[in-house]
């Protein structure tokens, strides 16, 4: 397989997997609790993680960006703020999870990098969510900090759930990833 050949496959895989991520995001979004509509769980992160494991972090980040662009174009309501926050969160998760794996590919690095991705993502989403809540929705600061206590467990929960599904799927299809 020549280099050019490989690049074209990479491009096509990125676009197909971002569409898959978009479809998963579109249909399986679950609001964990309705009062905070921005805390939504969907497992579309898996598609970008798989691409990141196959082609490296840059490809994973591109998958996230295309997925969210499609979402912005296709789904009504919500607005830009949610999309930007979601992009930040996913890019961070994918980047951390795949950075170390791209250097050393074995199962232990997968566990380790997913663990760090969950922790760092949960920590980094606090300031982003906080500024979003207090600035755009102007929720009073003391109220905002109570909501933040909900954001941390939500993000950890989301990360764990994504990782579990990813590991489950990864074990079934790793042969196709290594190809």
């Amino acid at each position: 397989m020549t280099q050019k050949n490989y690049d074209l496959r990479k491009l096509i895989n990125i676009s197909i997997f971002s569409v898959l991520g978009f479809l998963i995001m579109f249909f399986t979004e679950i609001s964990v609790f309705p009062a905070a509509f921005f805390l939504k769980y969907d497992c579309s992160e898996i598609t970008s993680l798989l691409i990141a494991f196959k082609y490296g972090p840059q490809a994973g980040i591109l998958t996230v960006i295309i997925r969210n662009m499609l979402f912005f174009m296709m789904k009504e309501g919500g607005g830009l703020a949610g999309i930007i926050a979601s992009t930040f969160s996913s890019v961070l998760f994918v980047l951390i999870a795949s950075l170390y794996y791209s250097k050393r590919k074995n199962m232990n690095t997968v566990y380790l990098s997913l663990f760090f991705a969950i922790i760092i993502n949960a920590a980094a989403m606090v300031p982003i969510n906080y500024s979003l809540i207090t600035y755009i929705y102007k929720i009073p600061v003391d109220m905002g900090s109570t909501i933040i206590y909900g954001v941390i467990p939500f993000n950890i929960f989301k990360g764990i759930l994504n990782s579990v599904i990813l590991l489950f799927v990864y074990k079934k299809i790793w042969r196709f990833l290594e190809k």
Partner: protein
Amino acid sequence: MFDGILLGQYVSGNSFLYILNPVNKILFCFTFMVLIVCCQSIFWTVNLGFIVLLLFFSAKLPFLAVLKGMKTILFFLIITFIMHIFFTSQGQVIFQYSKIIITLEGLLNALLIFFRIFFIIMINSILTLTTQPTEIAWGFQKLLYPFKIFKFPVDEFALMLSLALRFIPVLFQELGKIIDAQKSRGAEFDSPSFIKKILSFPPILIPMFINSFFRAEEIAMAMEARCYSNSQNRTHFTKIHTGFEDLFFVIFYTFITLVYLYLYYFKSYDLSVF
């Protein structure tokens, strides 16, 4: 599960918003959204919103589509509204009944948030109702050209975006087929329980992913057989023109942006002053 869902929101029409260049419309959306988010006074937010509404109705866009889109965040909007009204304790008291106190500041804040979210959705809809997804993709591609300096793969990105748009219906169909196939094997997808819902994902995802790898291989072969190479500049099947109406539109929103920037920096005002 997937019945009666239409992707995309484009509504065909022939008013001036349809002729505008997508790049122009995207820039308009960004500037207006930033203006609305930064605006701290109800009076000026409503003024800005009035301009948006004027644009919206002069282009004869369907208002009902926007309201339908608001359905998802309606509950949150109501909660925020109530929270602002009843839990803001500072400011001038305008209504008091035993422990329930409503202050002027709380009321103004609640209204401001309501208008802000409403108008942001309106601005979003102006873009997505009048522009086809392929055109928005084209616009984003043009807007991303400056990032070439940072070695961002703009041309590849454009190709990926247009491929992705093309593949949404195809993969959507395939997803439906896989779901039907798993249902016929006795899988449950409509369970109300959260855990069962999550557990139902992998049986769909695994065949979907494996199929996708094969499909990518096929597409790559088909493209190579047609001598695709990304070393040359690509041309487009449809040409999008830039006319005088674009110039007028740019002048229009630049003028409004400048007025608001002037207000932000030289006139200090707070909520209670309007």
